[in-house]
């Protein structure tokens, strides 16, 4: 190799090293995720919600697993079942890695989604899925912390909820890594989760 290219390669190496030393401002190129890479985000860092047995659960409970979390309500015949059907399919596509995926469904409608309803609802999609809830105030706080939009909307003699339809993915160390859109296919989600479970 001639002197000129050797100097170039040396310069590039120094540049990369400087970049790494500079820290947060310059990451090495992210793996190609289908979802939105939010590594380093300052929101969605943790949660404190009850499972259907009344036990308080936080992210630490699921260390060692990738976590995929969604905010919805059971009176939703469309988006929420679709998320859970997709989640079950993702678990299936992951094969053996499926054991290292924890799917969570957080209700934005604790008024109607009692622990009994949540437990049966989540289990209908997969026995490992967990429904989580809190009282109205803590539900609103959790939604705010995750930047989840939701609003009660009257309809006839009942009400529905408008709500964000994004899923949040944590890696096995408990860091928020990805936001998955509602229209992402199960295959794309599985590909993302495989990368989260097996970082390069």
């Amino acid at each position: 190799m001639d002197t000129h290219s050797r100097h170039r390669r040396h310069a590039i190496r120094c540049g990369v090293l400087a970049c790494l030393l500079a820290g947060a401002g310059c990451r090495k190129p992210a793996a190609a995720f289908h979802g939105i890479d939010v590594t380093g985000a300052d929101y969605g860092s943790d949660f404190r919600l009850n499972d259907p047995e009344g036990r308080e659960r936080t992210l630490a409970d699921f260390k060692g697993k990738a976590v995929m979390m969604f905010f919805g309500f059971t009176q939703c015949p469309d988006v929420c079942p679709t998320y859970l059907v997709r989640a079950a399919e993702v678990k299936r596509l992951l094969g053996a890695d499926g054991e290292r995926l924890q799917v969570l469904f957080v209700t934005l409608d604790p008024e109607r989604d009692t622990p009994e309803v949540l437990k049966a609802y989540a289990a209908a999609f997969d026995p490992s899925f967990i429904g989580l809830y809190a009282d109205a105030r803590r539900t609103a706080e959790a939604a705010q912390h995750f930047k989840v939009y939701f609003k009660k909307v009257p309809t006839g003699n009942s009400y529905t909820l408008d709500h964000s339809a994004l899923s949040y993915v944590y890696d096995p160390t408990g860091r928020l890594r990805l936001v998955l859109r509602h229209d992402q296919s199960a295959q794309d989600c599985a590909d993302d989760l495989r990368q989260i479970l097996h970082p390069a």
Binding site: T74, Q75, C76, P77, D78, V79, P81, T82, L84, V85, A88, E89, R112, T114, E116, V117, A120, Y121, A124, F125, Y149, V153, T155, G156, N157, S158, T160, D162, H163, S164, A165, L166, R181, H182
Partner: protein, 156 residues
Amino acid sequence: MQFAIRTTIAAVAMLASAAHAQVTVKDAWVRATVPQQKATGAFMQLQSAKDSRLVSTNSPLTPDVEVHEMAMQGNVMKMRQVPAIELPAGKVVDLKPGGYHIMLMNLTQPVKEGETVALTLTFEGKDGQRETVDVKAPVHPLNSGAVPVMHGSHKH
């Protein structure tokens, strides 16, 4: 012998009403619920020979039945009651997850897989003439995908 006669009469009656029907309803299904779950959705395919619109729905299951449209605004899901669903002549209109559905609300009992939900759909033509169609929608598993398998309960 009596059964055969009754069946024939019923078949003839069905044929007779089908001859006048403008609207066909296909592949209707209702999503099952878990105990204490208060609402669910019905999905189906509608097609009208002439311009028509679905203007109301009823069910003995609950007095609170509405036609809803789900729309994504960015990443926010919104469902709203719509006064009617337009059925342009000959066009197949899907009521399916991601679009329209019939909401059955304030349920007082669970809707179980394997059961059937009776729905009455009222359609109105351009001339103002109304037509009702009775539908017996089978209940499919809660975890059914957008296009459920018609027979058996395995999911996609």
